[in-house]
C-alpha cells in the first residue's frame, strides 16, 4: 500500500512524494467504475481500502483469464489490472459488528466511494446523514447510472449500454449506416477517472471551508459531456447527427479516417486539417495526378469530395506497411499513426518507452502484466502493485488504523465478521 509510505515521516522536498498522501478512502465500489475511482486516487497517493467480502464475491474476481490458468478469487488478471491501487478489507456487512467496523473506518477516513444504485447505501445503513454522524466533514461520492434523483433514477443499464442514454451511441457507426455497438463499458473507466476529479474538487472545498458533501455523479451526465460538439449542432441548427465512420466530427478535416494497409486487418489513421498538411501528404505520395485535382485543393473541396478522396488515398495506403507508412508520413509532417490491435500494445515502442504496461510480482508468486500510471507526473511517481488480494489490508486497517487488540481481531476473523 502506498499508504504505508504516508505514515512514514518524509522530508518535505522528497521528489517521490505523492500529492494525495494522507488522504484515506473507504471504497464500497464494485465491478469496474468504483474501483477505478479508488485506483486513480491511490495512484495519486491516497490510501484506498476497498470493502468487500467472501460472503459475496465481486464477480470481476471470478472473471477469466486467471494467472497461470488456475481459477481463484485472487487470480483474475483483468481484476488485478482494473483494481490496482485499491487495498482490500474483508467485512461481511450482513453482520452488525462488521457494519460497526466499517463505521469506525469511515470515522478515520476522508472519503467514501460507492457505485451502487440510488438508495442502496441508505438501505445498508451507510446513508450520507449516518456517515456524517461519525465523520462530520466526510465526502461521500456516489455514481449511479443516471444520478441520485430524477425520473430515470432507477434505470437499469450495463456499462456497455449506458452510453445509449447520452446520444453517444447514435454517433458510432459507418457513414450513413445504423449505430454499431461499442463492445465494452467505455463509460466505466471514464466515469471512474471523472469521479476522482470530482472527489479532489470536494477535498479542495473541504480545505477552503471545512465542509464535506455528498457528490452526485450521474454517469449519464458525465459521459454526455463527450457529445457536446454534436449537441451544439443540435442546439444551434436543429441538426441531429448520426454515424459518419471516422470522419471529423465537425467536418473540419479531410482526409480524416483510417485506411487499409498491407496485411490482415492492418490500418493507418490519417488526419489532415490544414492545407500545409495536405500539401505534405500529396508530396509524400509522390504528387499523383488525382491528388492535384482542383477539387482537393481546399479543405472545403476535400470535405465536399471526401468519399472519392478517401477511396483514392486508401488505394495508395493499401500498398504499404502501416508502421513504415506512419513513420514516413510523420517525416513529412502528416498526422498519421498505426491502428493498433490489442496484440500490438505490448510491442508498440511508444507504450514501451512510457512504461504504459508493467510486469509486477503478485504476492501469490506469479508475475502478471497490468497497466501503471496512465498519466505521467514529473515529480510524483506512483507505486504500482496488482489489484488487492481479498482482505490483504485487514491487519493494517483493523489493528493499526482502528487499534484493535490481537485477541479481539482474531475473534472477529474467527467469527467471520472480518471475512
Amino acid at each position: 500500500m502506498n499508504a504505508v509510505a504516508t505514515n512514514t515521516p518524509v522530508p518535505a522536498r522528497t521528489s517521490g512524494q505523492l500529492p494525495l498522501a494522507g488522504i484515506r478512502v473507504v471504497n464500497f465500489g464494485w465491478v469496474w467504475a468504483g474501483p477505478v475511482v479508488g485506483q486513480t486516487l491511490a495512484f495519486l497517493g491516497a490510501e484506498v481500502l476497498k470493502v468487500e467480502s467472501r460472503q459475496r464475491l465481486d464477480m470481476t474476481r471470478t472473471l477469466p483469464p486467471f494467472a497461470e490458468g488456475k481459477p481463484g478469487p485472487d487470480r483474475s488478471l483483468s481484476n488485478h489490472a482494473c483494481w490496482a491501487g485499491n487495498g482490500s478489507v474483508a467485512l461481511n456487512l450482513k453482520e452488525q459488528e462488521a457494519r460497526d467496523l466499517a463505521f469506525d473506518l469511515i470515522a478515520h477516513s476522508d472519503v467514501v466511494v460507492e457505485n451502487f444504485g440510488p438508495g442502496v447505501m441508505e438501505r445498508l445503513g451507510f446513508g450520507y446523514e449516518r456517515l456524517r454522524e461519525v465523520r462530520p466533514d466526510v465526502i461521500l461520492f456516489s455514481m449511479p447510472a443516471a444520478g441520485l434523483y430524477g425520473p430515470l433514477e432507477h434505470v437499469r443499464t450495463y456499462g456497455m449500454s449506458l452510453t445509449s442514454l447520452t446520444g453517444l451511441d447514435s454517433l458510432v457507426g459507418y457513414k450513413g449506416g445504423e449505430p454499431v455497438p461499442f463492445e465494452n463499458a467505455f463509460s466505466d473507466p471514464l466515469a471512474g477517472i471523472f469521479g476522482a476529479f470530482a472527489i479532489i474538487t470536494a477535498l479542495n472545498h473541504r480545505r477552503n471551508t471545512g465542509q464535506g458533501q455528498h457528490i452526485d455523479l450521474s454517469q449519464q451526465e458525465a459521459v454526455m459531456q463527450l457529445v457536446a460538439p454534436a449537441y451544439m449542432d443540435y442546439v444551434l441548427n436543429g441538426r441531429v447527427g448520426g454515424p459518419k465512420g471516422n470522419e471529423h466530427p465537425l467536418a473540419a478535416a479531410a482526409p480524416h479516417s483510417v485506411f487499409p494497409c498491407r496485411g490482415d486487418d492492418r490500418w493507418i489513421s490519417i488526419a489532415v486539417r490544414t492545407d500545409a498538411e495536405w500539401a505534405a501528404l500529396v508530396h509524400a505520395m509522390g504528387e499523383p495526378e488525382w491528388a492535384r485535382a482542383a477539387a482537393f485543393a481546399t479543405l472545403q473541396g476535400r470535405v465536399a469530395h471526401i468519399d472519392a478522396l478517401h477511396r483514392r488515398l486508401g488505394e495508395w495506403t493499401a500498398q504499404h506497411d502501416d508502421r513504415e507508412l506512419a513513420a514516413q508520413l510523420q517525416d513529412h509532417g502528416v498526422a498519421a499513426a498505426p491502428v493498433l490491435n490489442v496484440g500490438d500494445l505490448l510491442q508498440d515502442p511508444q507504450f514501451a518507452a512510457r512504461n504504459t504496461f508493467v510486469e509486477v510480482d503478485h504476492p501469490l508468486g506469479f508475475r502478471e502484466t497490468i497497466y501503471g500510471a496512465y498519466v505521467k507526473m514529473s515529480r510524483s511517481v506512483p507505486v504500482v502493485r496488482p489489484g488487492p488480494m481479498l482482505g490483504q489490508d485487514n491487519e493494517h486497517a483493523f489493528r493499526e488504523v482502528l487499534g484493535l487488540g490481537e485477541e479481539r481481531y482474531r475473534d472477529l476473523v474467527e467469527r467471520q465478521i472480518i471475512y
Binding site: 512524494q17 498522501a21 477505478v36 483469464p65 488478471l77 482494473c82 444520478g147 425520473p151 430515470l152 437499469r156 450495463y158 449500454s161 445509449s164 442514454l165 451511441d169 447514435s170 457507426g173 449505430p179 454499431v180 461499442f182 463492445e183 476529479f197 470530482a198 479542495n204 472545498h205 471551508t209 457528490i215 451526465e221 459531456q225 460538439p229 451544439m232 449542432d233 442546439v235 444551434l236 441548427n237 447527427g241 459518419k244 471516422n246 473540419a252 489513421s269 488526419a271 486539417r273 510523420q330 498519421a336 499513426a337 491502428v339 493498433l340 490489442v342 500494445l345 515502442p349 511508444q350 518507452a353 512510457r354 504496461f357 502478471e368 497497466y371 505521467k376 507526473m377 514529473s378 515529480r379
Partner: protein, 417 residues
C-alpha cells in the same frame, strides 16, 4: 452578467463559492482537450484566463455555427468548452508576447496546454523553462501521444490517438471493416478528464510534494491503459491471445446488442434468467422463446442470428420508448438508443437541471450542457459565456500584470495582443 467580476472568487453556482475557488489557471489550449480540461476548473470555481493567439483558438473557425455561417464569435465548439473563462490574446512567438505570457504564469497555479511538444519547444516554453519562471506551477500538458517516447515528436489529432489505443480494433466496428472512432473527440475528452484529475491532485498536494510539476497526459496512453489494457493486457501478456471487434455488443452472451425498432434503435440486453423472462413477458411470451436453443445467455449467443431475427420481428412493431419503459418495468436493462435530439430533450435531464441557458453577446440565449457532476455544497457548471476574442485584455493585463493603457495600446499596435 457582469464580466468585470468574472473571476474565481465569484460564486459559480447558486450563490455559493465554487469548490476550486482560489486556484488560478492559464488555459493555453485550442480545440477540445486542454480547453475542456480548463473548463472543468473554471466551471467549479477556479479563476481561468484563456490565452489565445491573436487569430484565436482554432475552434473559433470550426463551428458548428448557426446557419453554418462561419463567425469567430459564434462557434458552438468554442462556446461549449470555454465557459466561465476570461479571454486574452497573446502572440507568444514574439519576444514581448512570450515575456507577457511568462509574467502571467508567475501569477498562475496551473497551466493547461495541448500544443505539440515541438511547438512548445519552438516558443521556448518547455517545462524546464516554465519551471524556472514559476517552480510552483503545475503544467498539465495534454497531447495525442505524450511528452516522451518515440512518437512525442509526431503530429497528431484525436483520431490518431484513439486508434493507437487499441480501443477501435478491439471494440468498435465490424470484422473485416475499418475500426471506428466514436463520432466525437473521445480521446481528447478522455485525456482532458484524466489531466484534470491528475493535475488538480498535483495542485492540491503541491506543498506536500515540494512544488509544481508537469502532468503529462498522452490521450492514447490513457485509453490504452485504463480502458483497453484493464480488460485485455493480462491475457495477451500471459497467453499471447487477444480478441478483436465483432460488431455485436457481446458475442458470448445474448441478447446483448443494438437492434432496430419502429422508430430507431434499442440497446437490447437480457442476459440473466430474470431479465430474459422479463423480456419474454413483455413480448407476450412467444412460443419461439421457450425453445431449448434459447435456454440461457450462452446458447442464445450460439443461436444469435435466429434469436435476433425473432426479437426484431417484435421490436419492429414498437417504439424505442415503449420498449424501454415496458422492459425496464419488467426488470430488463434495455434502453432506448437516444438520438442527439432525444438526449437533449430528456425530461430526466431537465428535471436534474443538466441544461443551462447562457446569454452570449453574439449567439444570444443558448442552451448548454451543465455541470458533469453535482457538488451540493459548492455547485459548479457554466454561468458566464465563453469570452470573445481578446475580451479581457485590458482587464487581465491591467489588473494582473499592472500594464497601463499606453502599454496596452502599443502591444495592440504591435500585434502582440
Amino acid at each position: 452578467m457582469n464580466h468585470a467580476q468574472g473571476r474565481g472568487a465569484e460564486p459559480s453556482g447558486a450563490g455559493r463559492a465554487g469548490a476550486l475557488t482560489g486556484i488560478k489557471v492559464v488555459d493555453f489550449g485550442q480545440m477540445v482537450s486542454a480547453p475542456y480540461c480548463a473548463k472543468l476548473f473554471s466551471d467549479y470555481g477556479a479563476e481561468v484566463v484563456k490565452v489565445e493567439p491573436p487569430h484565436g483558438d482554432a475552434a473559433r473557425s470550426i463551428g458548428p455555427f448557426p446557419g453554418d455561417l462561419p463567425h469567430r464569435e459564434k462557434s458552438g465548439l468554442y462556446f461549449v468548452n470555454n465557459t466561465n473563462k476570461r479571454g486574452i490574446t497573446c502572440d507568444v512567438a514574439s519576444t514581448e508576447g512570450r515575456e507577457l505570457f511568462l509574467r502571467l504564469l508567475r501569477w498562475a497555479d496551473v497551466l493547461v496546454e495541448n500544443n505539440l511538444p515541438r511547438q512548445m519547444q519552438a516558443w521556448g516554453l518547455t517545462y524546464p523553462q516554465l519551471q524556472q519562471v514559476n517552480p510552483g506551477l503545475v503544467v498539465i500538458s495534454i497531447t495525442p501521444f505524450g511528452q516522451t517516447g518515440p512518437y512525442a515528436g509526431w503530429n497528431g489529432y484525436d483520431l490518431n490517438a484513439f486508434h493507437l489505443s487499441g480501443a477501435s480494433s478491439r471494440y468498435c466496428g465490424r470484422p473485416g471493416e475499418m475500426p471506428l472512432e466514436q463520432g466525437t473527440f473521445s480521446a481528447d475528452y478522455y485525456g482532458a478528464i484524466a489531466g484534470a484529475a491528475w493535475g488538480l491532485a498535483a495542485v492540491y498536494g503541491r506543498d506536500l510534494v515540494g512544488g509544481g510539476q508537469q502532468v503529462d497526459v498522452s490521450c492514447a496512453e490513457a485509453i490504452a491503459a485504463s480502458f483497453v489494457g484493464g480488460q485485455n493486457i493480462g491475457l495477451v501478456a500471459q497467453e499471447g491471445r487477444f480478441d478483436k471487434r465483432t460488431g455485436v455488443g457481446m458475442p458470448l452472451g445474448a441478447p446483448a446488442t443494438i437492434v432496430p425498432c419502429k422508430d430507431g434503435h434499442v440497446w437490447m440486453l437480457a442476459l440473466e434468467r430474470g431479465q430474459w423472462e422479463g423480456l419474454c413477458k413483455v413480448m407476450g411470451d412467444p412460443e419461439w422463446a421457450s425453445l431449448e436453443i434459447f435456454n440461457d445467455m450462452y446458447v442464445r449467443a450460439q443461436n444469435a442470428d435466429i434469436m435476433y431475427s425473432f426479437i426484431q420481428e417484435w421490436t419492429a412493431g414498437h417504439t424505442k420508448m415503449e420498449i424501454m419503459e415496458k422492459c425496464q418495468a419488467a426488470g430488463c436493462p434495455i434502453t432506448a438508443v437516444f438520438t442527439i435530439a432525444e438526449a437533449a430533450e430528456q425530461p430526466h435531464l431537465a428535471a436534474r437541471d443538466y441544461f443551462v441557458d447562457i446569454e452570449h453577446p453574439d449567439l444570444g440565449r443558448v442552451r448548454n450542457l451543465g455541470a458533469p457532476f453535482k457538488l451540493p455544497a459548492s455547485p459548479g457548471g457554466p454561468v458566464r459565456p465563453a469570452p470573445r476574442l481578446g475580451q479581457h485584455n485590458a482587464e487581465v493585463y491591467g489588473e494582473l500584470l499592472g500594464l497601463g493603457s499606453g502599454e496596452l495600446a502599443s502591444l495592440r499596435a504591435g500585434g502582440i495582443i
